[in-house]
């Protein structure tokens, strides 16, 4: 158990940035659900945030080395839970992603697996540190991340599955993959991807439609292009200063799809304009810089790996979500960390930050 005095080393600045963003999130969720049946989600988000904070402090108390010790078990349980979801999961909107724990509580293992993977990958590359990465090492890393990824992909949940990918990339990068190896892998991926695209069997029709919509949002304005088109209109019509809180016509008029989860940034951009959006991106920048700084000051390599894994997942989610909202990326169901409504996403983020705090608090401890 950690001594309370070490909370001097708790990253209060990071927490402050996180809380500012959380408040913005709650206000925007309130606005986006004002006239919908989801009215009141802002209250639930506050509850999630409170629970997230508790989880954050709880996990910061357990020495992350203990987490590294138990991660093989956690990994095993993760794979098992994903298999359970596949067999007994609750089917919602054609996808099995949740286990019903009863009492209205739904557990989405794929979010939890993300955290386990970050630690597992950190442990894996920590064990390999100081050595040259062989093709076998790289293969194992692919398997480590690939197995849960495939399981989640078949739920199907492309969005979450994709968030596992940066964990592996980050591990390989920090673990010392060589440029030549990267080149060969990219070539192989391009080849496989090309073949898959040609055969058209790897992607579900709706996923193909999303890609098409990304390439030309106006091609099917009522169908798959609808979301991205409405999102672009929301963001663009916000202008420099925005339409004002609770005054986004796209958001309030229910034109913008799911404006409290995946498209919350579009809703925010509409109501608070370019200036507001830059403010949020600046907050993300500060948070990420703060995280990387924590990686730099981590007392050991696995600590730094874990922090950088978290950074990788978060920047990836920001890039994909905001990129989608502004039309730079195809539509994938990836929530924006700290902004989107939802317990699973908040719990992951706060647990992740709790582990970062954990690592920071132990930087002077041996």
């Amino acid at each position: 158990m950690q001594r309370l005095s070490s909370y001097r080393d708790f990253d209060w600045v990071l927490l402050a940035f996180v809380m500012v963003l959380s408040v913005i999130s709650v206000l925007e969720i309130k606005s986006a659900t004002l006239h919908t049946k989801f009215h009141g989600f802002d209250q639930k988000q506050i509850e999630f945030l409170a629970a997230g904070l508790v989880l954050m402090f709880l996990i910061s108390m357990i020495d992350y080395h203990r987490l590294l010790d138990i991660v093989p078990w956690a990994y095993g349980i993760s794979i098992l839970s994903l298999l359970v979801v596949k067999v007994a999961g609750q089917k919602v909107l054609g996808a099995r992603r949740w286990i019903n724990l009863g009492g209205g509580v739904h557990f989405q293992p794929s979010e939890w697996v993300k955290l386990v993977l970050i630690i597992a990958v950190a442990r894996y590359f920590w064990n390999l540190s100081g050595k040259e990465l062989t093709w076998v090492d790289i293969g194992k890393a692919f398997a480590l991340v690939g197995i849960p990824m495939v399981l989640v992909l078949t739920q199907p949940d492309l969005g979450t599955a994709l968030t596992y990918f940066p964990v592996m990339v980050c591990g390989l990068f920090l673990g010392g993959i060589r440029l030549r190896q990267v080149g060969i892998i990219l070539l192989a991926l391009a080849l496989v991807g090309g073949l898959a695209w040609k055969s058209g069997k790897r992607l579900k029709p709706y996923q193909q439609a999303r890609i098409n919509a990304f390439i030309d949002p106006d091609s099917d304005p009522k169908g798959s292009g609808y979301q991205i088109r409405q999102s672009l209109i929301a963001v663009g019509s916000g202008g420099i200063w925005g339409k004002g809180a609770n005054k986004g016509t796209q958001t309030q008029g229910d034109f913008l799809p799911i404006p409290y989860t995946d498209f919350i940034f579009a809703a925010f951009c509409e109501e608070h304009g370019f200036v507001g959006a830059l403010g949020v991106l600046l907050l993300y920048f500060l948070i990420l810089m703060r995280l990387i700084q924590n990686a730099q000051t981590a007392s050991d390599l696995p600590g730094a790996y874990i922090v950088m894994g978290i950074v990788a997942v978060i920047i990836f989610q920001i890039a994909v979500n905001v990129g989608m909202v502004v039309g730079l990326m195809p539509v994938t169901g990836i929530p924006l960390p700290l902004m989107s409504y939802g317990g699973s996403s908040i719990f992951f983020t706060f647990l992740a930050f709790g582990i970062v705090m954990n690592i920071r608090m132990r930087r002077f401890v041996n």
């Binding site: 006239h35 010392g176 663009g236 019509s237 370019f274 810089m289 990387i292 007392s299 502004v326 039309g327």
Partner: protein
């Protein structure tokens, strides 16, 4: 990748590195910054460079124009009594853009709105070529229950929309139906006409009568509300509105009392009656029988009612006052007399009537042996022999010239749609239409208004009213010209060209002779049974054979073979304030129509009398004076010419 040399010392005892190389972490920082800069650039592109464009798109997304229909102008009689009103009604429309799954929604819509599914599909097919955003009318005059159904199903059936409208409320039992007309949804054919260039499918327009003629004035200008809608098309607020400009109320020349008398007089008959003020051309009453219920058309006409109307052999939709073109029979003798007198051919003519006379080897019968007849007796007795002789004397082209001067074979230019011309034969007419020369003998039957002569009741009223007025013919009309903007009036006149206002030559002596003789008709002549005591009532009967001339003048036949009974009457005899033409189809003797006209004239005169009396009471309130308030009889003309 090799570990950078500077970190080698950080490799711990277990041979593992303890620190991450700074260059990789720096690279991560730059990568994060780069990602955020790219995203910021994406935002800049949309929110700064594309803002105007996207703002316009956002507006178009959420603002919908909902039409606010202008209430149609009401119609009043000449004294401001309401003839046609509006009542509030709710219609249901289908927004095709909002339909998600028609197959799923169809049974529900059908059940809730009580419309057969087939009818909904038919409506969809009907509007197939119309733009998608245009609402399709599904049902008009929906019940409160149906409104509640739509309100309760906004989320399942976002495609249903209601619209508050003002509907036409017409008098009951087809009262004045032909002159007022009716309204209905504009037809596709109409939409292609230049007149309807600014109309849209689904618009309600006047389909006949005054409703059609003055549609542009009556309909007003529809307004609209700019409604903010959500993505389901549901109204969530509104921005502003353009107020509807209600249609103009119109005061008709109709006198409700006279119209009521006319409706009553024509009850149970087929035919038409038109009463007008020959001084001005103002139509005081206009009736056509059988009639129809315009209210049935106001809401979309039902198939059964339509079939009933269409299959009625007496053509209820036909306005016989302006669309029946029939032989005028003996009423034409007034026109003959006018021609004969103006030609100085009839004044001294004495004809021996022994029940007919022979012309060109044929015997032409008269209905009586009238003995020696001059024109002063020929008119009230309606002696055919006299007019055979006169016609023979004048020749067809002279008769035709005078008749045409009086407006026969031309439209009167009344402000009602679809007026017909009638026919007045002449040598040129026969050559043009039959490529045959005119045989002199053919003129004989024309002399008594048979043969090819065909007139409409309104033509006859105008022509004979014109003679009675000393030769001044007025364009008949239903709307006071000063009620209508000048350009609209001109447009109406251009749409309904006629012979217009004009004056024909008629000497005072001839004028007096004809009108006195017509007065005699109702005193001792053929219309004596219709004599109105105390009213200077003049007229002329007409019996027009339906089957053929050879069927014999005295054979009146039965049912559809019975002769058409005409009567043209007026009061007072000279410069009449009212002239009434009655056509009673298959009514038998023309004398039968005289009482019909007499009822209307009586109602009119009684009213004037009452008004005059009231006026005198107001001036000098003594009861005794009211008894003397009869119209002063016109000075009797010395009939010895």
């Amino acid at each position: 990748m090799e570990l950078a040399p500077q970190y080698e010392e950080q490799v711990g005892a277990n041979g593992k590195a303890e620190k991450l190389p700074a260059n990789k972490l720096n690279a991560a920082q730059y990568l994060v910054a780069l990602v955020l800069v790219v995203l910021s650039a994406g935002l800049w592109r949309l929110q700064v460079l594309g803002a105007d464009n996207f703002r316009a798109l956002a507006e178009a997304n959420r603002v919908r124009k909902v039409p606010v229909l202008a209430p149609r102008g009401r119609l009043f009689d000449r004294e401001g009594r309401l003839l046609v009103d509006n009542y509030p009604s709710v219609s249901c429309f289908l927004l095709r853009e909002q339909v998600k799954d028609l197959n799923a929604d169809l049974p529900l819509i059908s059940q809730g709105l009580h419309i057969p599914e087939e009818q909904i599909l038919a409506a969809l097919r009907h509007y197939q070529s119309a733009p998608k955003y245009q609402p399709i009318p599904l049902k008009q005059d929906i019940t409160p229950d149906e409104q509640a159904f739509i309100a309760a199903h906004t989320s399942e059936l976002p495609e249903l929309e209601t619209l508050d409208e003002q509907r036409r409320l017409y008098p009951r039992d087809g009262f004045a139906a032909h002159l007022i007309g009716y309204v209905g949804e504009i037809s596709e054919d109409d939409l292609n006409k230049p007149k309807y260039a600014f109309y849209q499918p689904g618009d309600v327009v006047g389909k006949s009568g005054v409703e059609e003629t003055y549609d542009a004035l009556l309909r007003g200008v529809d307004g609209s509300r700019d409604v903010i809608v959500n993505s389901h098309g549901k109204e969530i607020g509104h921005l502003g509105q353009t107020l509807a400009q209600p249609g103009q109320d119109l005061k008709l020349t109709i006198d409700l009392d006279v119209q009521m008398a006319a409706e009553k007089a024509m009850e149970g008959k087929t035919g038409a009656m038109v009463a007008l003020d020959p001084h001005t051309g103002e139509i005081l009453a206009l009736v056509s029988r059988p009639t129809f219920d315009p209210n049935q058309f106001s809401v979309r006409v039902s198939k059964s009612y339509w079939n009933e109307i269409i299959n009625n052999p007496d053509h209820p939709l036909l306005d016989k006052a302006i669309q029946a073109q029939l032989a005028p029979g003996s009423t034409f003798k007034i026109i003959m007399s006018y021609a004969g007198l103006q030609e100085n051919a009839a004044q001294d003519m004495h004809v021996m009537c022994s029940g007919g006379a022979s012309f060109y080897g044929h015997f032409f019968a008269c209905d009586k042996r009238h003995g020696m007849v001059d024109i002063e007796h020929a008119i009230p007795w309606s002696c055919d022999t006299f007019y055979y002789t006169l016609a023979n004397k004048l020749g067809i082209d002279t008769i035709s010239k005078y008749a045409t001067d009086l407006g026969l074979s031309q439209r009167t230019g009344v402000d009602l749609p679809d007026e017909v011309t009638g026919t007045m034969p002449s040598t040129a007419w026969k050559m043009k239409n039959f490529h045959e020369k005119w045989y002199a003998g053919e003129v004989i039957s024309v002399g008594i208004g048979q043969g090819a002569v065909a007139v409409t009741p309104i033509q006859l009223a105008r022509a004979i009213g014109g003679i009675a007025s000393g030769g001044a013919l007025r364009r008949p009309h239903l709307v006071f010209p000063d009620e209508v903007p000048a350009e609209e009036l001109q447009a109406v006149h251009e749409t309904f060209p006629g012979s217009g206002d004009k004056t024909v030559q008629l000497s005072t002596a001839n004028w007096q002779l004809i009108t006195d003789a017509m007065a005699q008709t109702t005193i001792s002549g053929t219309a004596a049974p219709a004599h109105l005591e105390g009213i200077d009532f003049a007229g002329k009967t007409g019996t027009a054979q339906v089957v053929s001339h050879s069927a014999g003048m005295t054979s009146l036949g039965t049912g559809k073979e019975r002769a058409n009974a005409w009567f043209v009457g007026m009061a007072p005899r000279r410069n009449p304030d009212i002239v009434v033409a009655v056509l009673w189809e298959h009514g038998g003797w023309g004398a039968g129509s005289a009482p019909v006209a007499a009822q209307v004239i009586n109602a009119f005169v009684e009213k004037q009398r009452k008004r005059a009396n009231n006026l005198r009471i107001a001036e000098t309130p003594t009861v005794t004076q009211t008894a003397t308030a009869e119209p002063t009889p016109a000075p009797q003309k010395d009939t010895t010419n």
